[in-house]
Subunit: 437 residues, 2 copies
C-alpha cells in the first residue's frame, strides 16, 4: 500500500489533537483511505507539553522530543519542505504573522498539500496562499477553519454540488453564543456573562476577537469565498459584536418570540452578494434560536433542496482536529482530482446597509404624549411599514420603546432616525437589530 506521509507544524491544541487521532486510529484511517496514513514528523517548540497532553511518542518530534529554538524549528521546516517523501503539511501554528503566511505559501510552493485550521490567516491574507496552491496544483484543506467539527466546507464543496446555494447564515462563534445563552437563561448582564465564560474556559483573557464579531467575520469571509467565489475584506464586511446588547434588548427579544444571536449572514441576489456579521433577533421557529452554549450551527437555503441546517461542536481540541484528519483523508484519496475554490468575477459584495430585512429599532425618548406618533410618522414617511410598536418602559425622565418593521433597508431607517433626531426628543442613539426568521 502506497504511504501518504504527513508533517505537522505546531503541536498545540488542534495540531496535537490531530496527531493523537492519527496515531490512535491509524489502522482504520489507512483501511478507509486505501493509503498508509503515516505521520512522519512534528515540528514544535515545546514537545514535552504536547507529549504529555496528547500521549504522543517523542520520536515523532524533530529534535527527538526536546525543547527546540525557533532557529532549529526553521531548519526542520526547511528539511520538511525539501523532503520529497512528505505529501502533506498540517499548519497549526495559528496567527497571521509573516512567518505563518510564508510557511503556508512555501508548503504549497514545494508541491505539498496544505491543511490548516487558521481562519484569520485564510480570511485576511489567504489570497497568495490560494493562488500558490492553484499554480502548484496542490490542495488546501480548511475544514477545521470554519466551525470546528461541523463539516460545512466539504458539504458545500462536495454535497451541495447538484444545487445552488442562495444564502448561508449561522452561529459561527461559540464564545459569543455561550455568553448570549447565559444572558438569556439567567437574566445576566453582558459583563457578568463574559466573566462566567472566561471562568468556564469559553472566552480568552482578551476576548476582543470573539465578542467583537471579528472571529465570526473571518469564518463568513471564508464561506463567502467558497459559496459565492468572492473575496471580501474585513473592512468591506462591516461586522458588529455583542458588547452592546443590554438586558432590555434581551427582554424585548423574548417578547417577540426571539433570541439574540450573533449571526453571520450572506445572501446572493442576482449579481450581488449581501453579507454581514451582527447581533440579530432570531425568531424561535428558526432552529438557530435554539442553539445554546458554545455550539455552532450553519444554515443554508438552496435553490432546489431548500433549507439545510448543520449543528455541531464549533471548537475544542479533538473536535477541530477531527476535521483536520478528515481533510487529510480526503486529500490522500482524491488529491489529483480535487478542484480548488474558484473565484467569480461576476458578483459584487454589498454590506448590511443595502440589505432588505425586517428590523427592530429601540428608542429612548422623553416621556410625554405625542412621542410615539412623531416617531412612527417619521418611519412611515420613509415608506417603511411598521409591524408592531411595543414594550413601552417608563424610566426615570424618559421612555423606552421598540418598533418592529416590515422588511426595509437601513438607509430608509437611518433617514427616519435623522428626522427624529432633529426633533430633539431622543435621549440616546437608537439601537437597530435585524430580525432573522
Amino acid at each position: 500500500m502506497k504511504p501518504f506521509n504527513i508533517a505537522i507544524v505546531g503541536c498545540g491544541t488542534v495540531g496535537g489533537g490531530a496527531a493523537k487521532i492519527i496515531t490512535e486510529i491509524n489502522e482504520s484511517l489507512t483501511s478507509r483511505s486505501g493509503r498508509l496514513i503515516n505521520l512522519s514528523k512534528i515540528v514544535e517548540l515545546n514537545p514535552p507539553v504536547a507529549i504529555e497532553r496528547f500521549g504522543l511518542p517523542g520520536k515523532l518530534f524533530c529534535g527527538g522530543g526536546k525543547v527546540i529554538t525557533p532557529q532549529e524549528a526553521g531548519k526542520y521546516i526547511d528539511e520538511i519542505l525539501n523532503d520529497p517523501s512528505i505529501h502533506l503539511v498540517v499548519e497549526t501554528v495559528g496567527g497571521t504573522s509573516n512567518f505563518v503566511h510564508d510557511l503556508c505559501v512555501n508548503i504549497c510552493k514545494s508541491g505539498k498539500h496544505l491543511v490548516s485550521a487558521n481562519k484569520a490567516l485564510l480570511a485576511e491574507r489567504g489570497q497568495e496562499i490560494f493562488n500558490t496552491a492553484e499554480k502548484s496544483n496542490v490542495s488546501i484543506g480548511f475544514e477545521a477553519a470554519v466551525c470546528g467539527a461541523i463539516p460545512i466546507i466539504k458539504t458545500i464543496k462536495e454535497s451541495f454540488t447538484g444545487d445552488e446555494i442562495i444564502s448561508v447564515s449561522g452561529i459561527l462563534n461559540g464564545t459569543s453564543n455561550y455568553i448570549l445563552s447565559r444572558m438569556l437563561d439567567e437574566d445576566l448582564g453582558f459583563g457578568q456573562a463574559l466573566k462566567l465564560a472566561q471562568e468556564a474556559g469559553y472566552a480568552e483573557a482578551d476576548p476582543t476577537l470573539d465578542i467583537s464579531g471579528g472571529d465570526a467575520a473571518h469564518k463568513l469571509i471564508i464561506l463567502m469565498k467558497l459559496v459565492f467565489g468572492i473575496d471580501v475584506t474585513m473592512e468591506q464586511l462591516k461586522f458588529q459584536g455583542i458588547q452592546n446588547i443590554s438586558a432590555d434588548d434581551m427582554e424585548y427579544a423574548k417578547e417577540i418570540d426571539a433570541a439574540f444571536k450573533l449571526i453571520c449572514y450572506a445572501k446572493r441576489d442576482g449579481d450581488k452578494v449581501y453579507g454581514t456579521v451582527c447581533p440579530m433577533m432570531v425568531k424561535n421557529d428558526n432552529f438557530l434560536s435554539g442553539v445554546k452554549g458554545a455550539t455552532n450551527a450553519v444554515r443554508t437555503i438552496n435553490r432546489y433542496s431548500g433549507k439545510h441546517i448543520l449543528i455541531g461542536a464549533g471548537a475544542g481540541s479533538l473536535e477541530t482536529a477531527s476535521s483536520i484528519v478528515a481533510d487529510i483523508m480526503f486529500i490522500a484519496r482524491y488529491s489529483d482530482k480535487i478542484k480548488n475554490t474558484q473565484l467569480s468575477n461576476k458578483l459584487e459584495f454589498k454590506g448590511l446597509s443595502h440589505f432588505t430585512f425586517p428590523f427592530v429599532i429601540t428608542f429612548t425618548t422623553e416621556d410625554r404624549p405625542g412621542i410615539t406618533g412623531l416617531v412612527t410618522t417619521e418611519i412611515g414617511k420613509q415608506d417603511v411599514n411598521i409591524y408592531t410598536v411595543s414594550h413601552n418602559r417608563h424610566i426615570k425622565d424618559g421612555a423606552v420603546f421598540s418598533v418592529e418593521t416590515q422588511p426595509c433597508t437601513l438607509k430608509q431607517i437611518n433617514a427616519a432616525i435623522k428626522e427624529i433626531k432633529a426633533s430633539g426628543i431622543l435621549k440616546t442613539e437608537p439601537k437597530i437589530y435585524p430580525i432573522l426568521f
Copy 2:
C-alpha cells in the same frame, strides 16, 4: 473537456427532478465538475407527463417523447447498457421488483456507475447490487435514498473519516413526523392526523410503509451498513410504527418535557451494534424533539468530535433530485478513486430487547389502593431503578399511570410485567416506549 454521459431510467417525481436540474444548471455543473455533464437519454413509459411537469425537451426521451411500451423500454435499456459512451445510469423506477433489481445489477455489470434513490431495493435486496459494483469496479451513489436532500451519506463517507461514529439516530420518515407533529400541536388523535396528512399530500392513500416504520427501517438498514459495515435484514431489525400512539401517550410525553418521534437508532458498543426503529419520547433539549412536519433530521455521536445534527428536507421532487445530481457530480469527478462501502465481519447486530435505555411504561389497572406499590415493587425486584411515577388518571373502572425508569433492558421490564400480569390487576397490555435524551 471530456464529457460525462448520463442516462436516466424512470422519469417520475425524482428522476424528472434530476433531469430538470441537470438541464437547468448545466453550465455550472460542468464548470464545477470539470467534466461536460451531459444528459444523453431518458427511458420513460409516459414521456408526455414528464415533459409537461419538468419542462424537458422531448428529444431527450428514447422514442422521441411518445408513450412507449414496456417491451420498447426494455429494448432502449439494453441499448443503453451496451452503449460504451454512457458512463452512469440513474435508476429512478422504484420498488423492489425483479425487473428493477436486475436492472441495477446489469447497470453495474455493464461497467456503468449507478445512482439510485431506491431505499427499499438497496435495503432489502442490495447485496447482489453492491457485490456486482465492487466486482465491476463501479460506484453506487445512494445519497437520495436516505433523507432526501440531507447529505448524510456523503457526510459519513467523506467527512466523518477522521473520526469514528458511535451512534446514529434520527427522524427518517417525514410522513410519520408530520402526523406526530399535528397530533402534538393540535391535540388530534392518530386517525384525524393521518387524514390531514393524506389531504396535504404527505401520506399515500395506502400509508402502511410510512406509518409502520418500514420506510424508516429501510433507511436505518442502509445507514447501519454504511456506518458499521453490517448487513441487517428487515426481519432482524424489529421495527415498530406510530399507529398505537394515543392522545394520552402524547400528553404524558409533554408532562416529562418530551415529544413523541419515530426514531431510528443504532449504536455500536464493543463488537455489537444495537439498532431499532420505534416511537420514542424525545426530551425537549434534544434537537430532534423540535424537528416538525415532514422535515428529517439525523444525529450522530462521534468518538472525537461529539454530537452532530443535520436537518433538511426528507422528501420532495427537486429536494431528492438535488442529491441524485450531487452523486453524479461526485462520481464524475472522483469515480476512479471512490471506495465502495466495506462490510465488516467483526460486528454483530442486536435488536431493541438487548438495549440499555431509559423507558416509560404505561399501565392501565384496577383503581384501588395498593396497585402502585405492587407495580413498582415488581419493577424494583428486577433491579430496575425507577426515576419517577406519575400521571395518574382515574378512568371508568380503572386507573392509568406511567413509570419512568433509569436505563435498563427490555428483558428486565418484560420480566417485571410478567409478574404484574400474574397478579391479575392489568386491564390492558402495558405500553413501553424508550426515552431519548
